[in-house]
Subunit: 246 residues, 2 copies
């Protein structure tokens, strides 16, 4: 069974954000990532495209298409495609759930997909299960986000919404909302309440002024010459500080 | 004054490791990075190639070549070259200095240039000034390392040497040497001696067996689903744990 020209064209088009938005689908590649997708309780796999010999216990539950290596190369976004590609339904945008005792991360206008993916992977390591992204933050279904998350995208709930609204509703539910800034309270000595949330600013501009006024500034102390930390690194270090205490 | 064909060929060749090794030179690009290079006490700039209008107080101390945008595009390794490119002499490989009270980081076979660059940037933020790399670790003059370090490469001392030898000489000088592994002592409750060193393993294989036997295992506690942390992230979190105490 070989793929039609139209099928190939359609699958390739999903590497573009415009088409993903329209079809509410996205693509993941590789044995490990497709395994995570098939095992996920939050996502529905529409179909998989795999080479001869690929096996997964749940592949019979979804539309499975055996393809040639040439076909896989044509539909893949990778230089060296890895056995299998899955097309997956995007989740509906969930709402922030404030009825929790877990740390919540909020991302203000992050643009780099590698940073978002690394934040998702790290948050998942620490058992954080909600990340709120401002609408301008890079799309979670960007292939580089999915890849850098190493599968954590299938376990963590991301929602996109106006952060001012999220911060206000967290504060209404007695969360303390911190914002990572250059000259805030020392994160190494802060006592985090259980109900805490941390807002991280964009790579180039930090927190927007409106958000900065709503939150308690917090900083990772600096001892050397670098002018800044990578935003994913700063998020991981602050999350670790919170988890040390709770 | 325009560049000869041979000059252009030579400058382009420095984007290749083989040629950098041979000539003991490397290249950095962009206003900020060239500024760091010109200000560095540890590195000698051989020459800069800049567009009309570029100014730096120290540019008269080095060979400065004004070039056209077309020429800069030809010698640059970037998609959009940024005003200036510098050719810099590599440092002699320094030896590990064990006469220090600062944390020392050791990297066992790290392959990803982005990870090495991020580790250098983060170490510099925390005032760490020595990183020891196993000989198989990615070259510090790789353009992606230099770029991800955001200039910290000009402030931190990296040496490449056999890690077994480094670990033994650290232990001889009463350093406690930790190794980041999956099932070690909880890094959130560890009391780090002032004289501490931490060995980080490769992205895909962790610590080599020989090194694992020499060091005290330490782990960042895991609360969620991710199977691992990115190695730069883990290095940053462990360094922050040490700096909280000292």
């Amino acid at each position: 069974m070989s793929l039609s020209k139209n099928e190939i064209k359609f699958l390739k088009s999903l590497h573009l954000k415009k088409k993903r938005d329209l079809e509410k689908l996205f693509v993941v590649e590789g044995v490990k990532m497709v395994h995570e997708a098939l095992e996920s309780m939050h996502f529905d796999v529409q179909g998989i495209y795999h080479l001869e010999g690929y096996q997964h216990p749940k592949m019979s539950e979804v539309a499975s298409h055996q393809v040639s290596i040439t076909e896989l190369e044509r539909i893949s976004g990778l230089k060296s495609p890895n056995q299998v590609l899955a097309v997956i339904h995007q989740r509906k945008n969930t709402a922030l759930n404030t009825d929790t005792d877990k740390l919540i991360l909020l991302l203000d206008n992050l643009k780099d997909p590698g940073n978002l993916g690394t934040i998702i992977r790290t948050a998942d390591w620490f058992g954080i299960d909600q990340i709120v992204c401002s609408p301008e933050t890079v799309e979670m279904y960007n292939p580089k986000v999915v890849q850098a998350s190493m599968g954590a995208i299938f376990r963590i709930s991301l929602c996109y919404e106006d952060l001012v609204k999220s911060i206000r509703s967290l504060q209404d539910q007695s969360f303390k909302v911190y914002g990572a800034e250059m000259h805030g309270e020392n994160a190494f000595t802060t006592k985090f309440p259980v109900k805490s949330a941390i807002v991280m600013g964009s790579e180039s501009h930090g927190l927007s002024e409106e958000i900065s006024e709503l939150v308690s500034s917090i900083s990772i102390p600096r001892f050397g010459g670098s002018e800044s930390l990578n935003v994913a690194m700063a998020t991981g270090i602050l999350t670790a500080q919170y988890k040390m205490q709770h």
